[in-house]
């Protein structure tokens, strides 16, 4: 192991335990971050398998793979797994590993709460997946679980209650992490690390954490109401007793819309770190990217009703929501231009992390434009609850978040392990995933425009839907195959790759994490580097005039 066996003074007998126990009991942000990533990527695969069942059932009309009830469980748990057990916590996983390193801290502000946040995730997963085995099966009303469909009258089984419990536990994990990140940034930055010198990834985690801390509790309130309606006879959502189903939707989406920014901002942060390194050029418009991220966060709190256009909202509310939703495209566009501006005139290196980062730009662009189109209310009346929406969400979440996640994994696994990954396998993974993803989700634009509804287990033949569904299913399986190349790469890297091949700085990066060993020592930095800009490693490289094999354009600011 690269860690030293230096005796640690005083602060509470922190001797390193060996093996598995060290990992189970650790409060070290790096180990916790790695475990977050192991758990969340595993859940990506579980959610993916659930998706394959869904796609197989829909591959042609009249498929009889699963019954209707079971199908509802599969798509519900596919989405719930992907959103709550993968895409939201994976951002926290990257944040955990990187944030203290990137700001020159030795750990997070609350290491023990950090460990709690981690271990709540497998606990919640256990609870949620156990629901497949109770009477009635798992939750099955979609990941949105609208009342009154989810009241005891229509969903008497315990699956819904287990789902609620699991999501509540994940909410606690999430908020704990969010508070941790914010306090760490507020109080633990190294000398010279002013707020305007923090890496963009750290800034995106800051904005994400604000959303997490202030939006998640509202979800907790509404899921508690649902649980009480189901179990002790309250009537929050029953109009016969003074309640209202729209109350559920309002409170649910007040969280769940900011949640989608929680899902994308960390990936945007990752891309903002990867693109400059592999363009050999600083990020274009550092401050603009930060303000744009903050703008997305703020605006994101105001548009939740665009999920409810079809419910009869008042005209003023509808118009504001539509305009604000379209406005979110502006800061998103600012980021797009800044990312493109970063690459423009740069010396592009198409290593695997860069492939995924560039893939992100194109795929997220498609998904984002889908969203702006959908924001227009008359269009939404036609497209809501059709496969158009499914296409949009997968382009932004898969093309966006998942591509960002893989860019981050290929970029930082060398830092975490000291080993370099196989570029050939990574390249194959990328192209198969890109092709598969587009095969899977591009046809859904057409299906949506043809009027195919969401959340149906089967459909009538002869409407022109089968062909597109079949292509989509082929795409889904292509994506699955691409994942095998990733898994093979990870196994090969961990078992066969030469140790310490990465060194401190395999990519000639800009930020602090590249100025310590791979993997870093327990307290992150043997000696904290001097920090005078937002790219301390670049500064040191120039100052010491280390030879570089790649041309280094002069920075413009």
């Amino acid at each position: 192991m690269a860690t030293d066996a230096i005796a640690r003074p005083v602060h509470g007998a922190h001797h390193e335990q060996a093996g598995l126990l060290a990992w189970l009991l650790t409060t070290d942000h790096k180990k916790i971050g790695i475990m977050y990533l192991i758990f969340t990527i595993s859940f990506l695969f579980v959610g993916g398998i659930l998706a394959l069942v869904v796609r197989t059932q829909l591959a042609w009309s009249g498929m009889d793979l699963v019954g209707q009830d079971q199908y509802n469980q599969f798509f519900t748990m596919h989405a719930s797994t992907m959103l709550f057990l993968f895409v939201i916590p994976v951002g926290a996983g990257f944040g955990n590993y990187l944030l203290p390193l990137m700001i020159g801290a030795k750990d997070m502000a609350y290491p023990r709460i950090n460990a709690l946040s981690l271990w709540l995730i497998p606990l919640a997963a256990l609870i949620m997946f156990s629901s497949f085995f109770v009477e009635g099966g798992s939750a099955s009303a979609g990941w949105t679980e609208y009342a009154p469909l989810t009241t005891k009258t229509f969903m008497p089984g315990q699956g819904t209650d287990l789902w609620i419990l699991g999501v509540q536990i994940l909410g606690i994990s999430s908020v704990g992490g969010g508070i941790n990140f914010l306090v760490t940034v507020m109080t633990m930055r190294a000398p010279g690390m002013t707020l305007s010198r923090m890496p963009i990834f750290v800034w995106m985690i800051v904005v994400t954490s604000v959303l997490v801390v202030f939006a998640t509790p509202v979800l907790a309130s509404v899921l508690t109401m649902l649980f009480l309606d189901r179990n002790i006879g309250t009537t929050f959502f029953d109009p016969r007793e003074g309640g209202n189903p729209l109350l559920y939707q309002q409170l649910f989406w007040f969280y769940s819309h900011p949640a989608v920014y929680i899902m994308i901002l960390p990936a945007m942060g990752i891309v903002s770190e990867v693109l400059p390194v592999f363009s050999r050029k600083p990020l274009f418009g550092y401050k603009a990217v930060i303000y744009a991220g903050a703008g997305i966060g703020v605006l994101g709190f105001t548009v939740w009703m665009h999920h409810m256009f079809a419910t009869g909202l008042s005209i003023p509310l509808t118009i504001w929501t539509m305009l604000a939703t379209m406005m979110i495209a502006v800061p998103s566009g600012v980021k797009m231009f800044n990312w493109l501006g970063t690459m423009w005139g740069g010396s592009i290196l198409l290593r695997t992390p860069m492939l995924f980062a560039i893939g992100f730009l194109f795929m997220f662009l498609i998904g984002g434009v889908d969203g702006v189109f959908n924001a227009f209310v008359p269009i939404d009346y036609a497209l809501n609850d059709t496969y158009w929406v499914v296409s949009h969400i997968h382009y932004v979440l898969f093309g966006g978040s998942v591509f960002g996640v893989f860019a981050g994994l290929y970029f930082w696994i060398p830092k975490m392990t000291g080993k370099m990954m196989n570029e050939t396998l990574g390249t194959i993974h990328f192209w198969l995933m890109l092709i598969g993803m587009n095969l899977a989700f591009m046809p859904m634009h057409i299906l949506g425009l043809m009027g195919m509804p969401r959340r149906i287990a089967d459909y009538q033949g002869g409407q022109g839907w089968e062909e597109w569904n079949l292509i989509s299913t082929i795409g889904a399986f292509t994506v699955a195959v691409s994942m095998l190349f990733f898994i093979a790469n990870v196994i090969l890297t961990l078992t066969r790759a030469p140790k310490d091949a990465a060194g401190d700085d395999p990519w000639e990066g800009n930020t602090l994490e590249w100025m310590t060993s791979s993997p870093p020592p327990e307290h992150n930095f043997e000696e904290l580097p001097e920090i005078h800009s937002e790219r301390p490693n670049y500064d040191r490289r120039i100052a010491s005039r280390l030879p570089s094999t790649r041309p280094m354009p002069v920075a413009r600011h």
Partner: protein
Amino acid sequence: MAMHAAAAPHHASENLGISRGMAGMALFIGSEIMLFGGLFAAYFFVRNQADTWPPESIEHTVAKDLGALLTAILISSSVAAHIGILGLQKGNQGLFKLGLGVAIILGSIFIGGQIYEWFNLWDEGLNASSGAYGSTFFIITGFHGAHVIAGLAMLIAVLVRAFWGDFTAHRHLFAESSILYWHFVDVIWVFVFSILYLSY
């Protein structure tokens, strides 16, 4: 394990001049405000759509005088805790323990009163199944009561540590953040009382 935050000063002047403990507590309180925000939003939503409030079907509504008494008790409890922390800041450990003790006793009386009120209402036929009125009343007072109990647990922990001599005039982060939480719980009650009891 001693509080790390109380040890050597933090890294650099770049950092915001707030301690880790208070920053965390402030953010946690922020999240709790949003939790109650969701609950109150539900209350306003169902109340706004009702023909009358309380609805026609409700025979027995909540008692304003009992609510007022509970409010006085909880506010006094916060005042006592505040006097205590002021005393501690001046080095008066005795006043600190006294203030804390009074706060805990008054907080416990508040919980007792809340439970008494609930039993009373249940006897009169008002419970969680009493439509939107009952649902919102019991979820809000229930969540609030749970937070009072959590706050009491924290105050008791502070008092125990005070007797252990853990706090000095300059070093008492755990006490200060716990008492901040207690004040938050009190402020929430003021909203509960004003909206649920007084506003009709």
